[in-house]
Amino acid sequence: MRRIPSAEGRAELALGAVAVAVLGFVVAMLVTVFVKAWPSFSHNGYIKWFFPGGDVDQQIKAIVNSPPDPAHYVYRLRAWPLLWDTLLTTGIAVVLGLVLSLLSAIFIVEFAPAAMRRILEPVVRLLAAVPSVIFGLIGILLVVPWINQHLISQGRKLSVSYVVQLNGAGLLVASLILMVMILPIMVAITVNALSAVPSSWTEGSAALGVNRWRTMWRVSVRTARPAIIAGAVLATARALGEAIMLALVGGSRTFPVNLLDGRTALFEPVRPLAATIITYKDNLTVVPLSQTLYAMAAVVLVSTAALSLAAWSVKQPLKRYGIRT
């Protein structure tokens, strides 16, 4: 083996040690979160943790009121309402955001006059920079009261008052603001992908007499599809982890939105997984509750990690065309 000069070897070892320490830290984090979360999963029969089965608020109430004796800790939780709320808010936000981001990206790359293009970069950067607590503040102080007064009638409130109270904070606000928060990620990635489509392809399409919109749609968007999907996946991971804004505008109950209610479902309160963790943070000293919250954190961590991996693999095809985005 080639002898490395000692100073050189020391530098490499030192830097390598720092890098390995960071890696070790991440591994320790994963392992510890799962170890802490295990009792909650095991006491609930592993799979049944994810099933529906009653009011989550009441179940958490019972967990918080567990007797202090470790043998009698209460763990029962059926977290489906949380998962359902998470799926709904994230799903609506990503689907709407995908449409809006695709159209905006096409606009930026193709149709915008130069002046508008120069404005749009700071605009998207601004949307990316605004902290989530400010989105939440504007949501709860302005949007929620407006919805309460103008979009929810007394009749609608009465129709569900046996089960839940409507006060404006709910699925609609949460999904819309979440969409605005994840928009910049998708727009940025899509714009990069669309601009990186080789110009010979688009020029060839124009030479055949195809108009700009169709060229963009059929050639560029089609080619950049993996990048667009990867952007959507990245945005989904971001949406899953959003806690503060959703805790502010989601509403004050854990309630699985009932889609059969029709339009009323838009106004029913939601409390996704990450927002639940923030909501119950004050009660962390109660051991079974902290283990339950770690279980929720583990679920969030696994889903974001899985999404990251999925996005990486989805972008592999772009290599084939030499598209550098």
């Binding site: 009121n65 202090p68 008052s161 004050s252 009660n283 000293t285």
Partner: protein
């Protein structure tokens, strides 16, 4: 360049050491956690304690009475604030409760709905969900469905409301929104015209405090004993109070302590 860096570091450390000498005289501060109802009172008591005895200011947190009990039991806090009476079988063994004050709990509505009076039956019907519309409540100034608010499970105020107004068997309707603390309860009531809830007396400014059984929920009526909805404030320690915690607690419950009397009497009921 290296010499300048080294001397810079040395002078920084020296400055740090010099400024730290007076600060080193401080001891360890007490950690107090628990009821959101007791929080404003305990903050004032802690500040006054520091002023009069120059002991380090106790650090006061909040997270409902249940959290106070579990914090004290696990040793995470030195003293727990609890605004409900001890519950045998639920509370851990070995905790010692010291009463420091009493407090009134009022039913509150939005100022746009200045309900004059509620009797026990109406309160029970409203909070258990039997009565769902303001049109069925005499004296209401708003129409529409009733928006119920309660507190979270570990709240002492929730426990007090349950015992005083509802009794053993009746349960609050599950459709009621659960608020974390007295502060968020007050926020919720102020923000919703159709809202009704309950809170510690110190948190009623800004809302309409409803008379109960014909007696207005005021400090005077609570002190005189006419108003029925009164509960105890406790400071809880693991075992008998020791050390700095004992000093603080004995300062608070000392008879003829004018500072404490003034603070407690402002919005709560003194025990003497």
């Amino acid at each position: 360049m290296r010499r300048i860096n080294r001397s810079l570091i040395i002078s920084l450390l020296a400055a740090l050491a010099l400024t730290s000498v007076p600060a080193m005289a401080q001891g360890r501060a007490l950690l107090i956690d628990g009821s959101t109802s007791i929080f404003p009172l305990m903050n004032q008591l802690a500040a006054a304690y520091h002023k009069s005895t120059h002991a380090p200011t106790p650090k006061v947190g909040q997270g409902t009475s249940g959290v106070g009990i579990s914090d004290v039991n696990s040793g995470r806090a030195d003293i727990g604030d609890v605004s409900r009476d001890p519950i045998v079988g639920v509370d851990p063994h070995g905790l010692v409760f010291t009463k420091i004050a009493r407090d009134g709990v009022c039913v509150i509505t939005n100022p746009a709905n200045p309900l004059g009076n509620l009797n026990q039956q109406t309160v029970q019907q409203i909070f258990t969900g039997q009565v769902r519309n303001w049109s069925e409540v005499p004296g209401a100034s708003v129409t529409g469905p009733i928006d119920l608010f309660q507190r979270v499970a570990s709240s002492g105020t929730q426990d007090a409301f349950q015992n005083i107004f509802l009794g053993e068997s009746l349960k609050i309707s599950p459709s009621a929104s659960a608020e974390e603390s007295n502060g968020t309860m007050r926020q919720a009531i102020i923000g919703d015209k159709n809202a009704i809830g309950f809170a510690s007396f110190a948190f009623t400014p800004g809302t309409n405090a409803v008379s109960y059984q014909g007696i207005p929920c005021t400090l005077r009526n609570a002190k005189s004993g006419q108003y029925q909805g009164v509960r105890n404030f406790w400071m809880v320690t693991k075992g008998r109070p020791k050390g700095a915690a004992a000093k603080f607690i004995s300062w608070v419950i000392k008879p003829h302590n004018k500072t404490v009397e003034k603070i407690v009497g402002s919005e709560w009921i003194p025990i003497y």
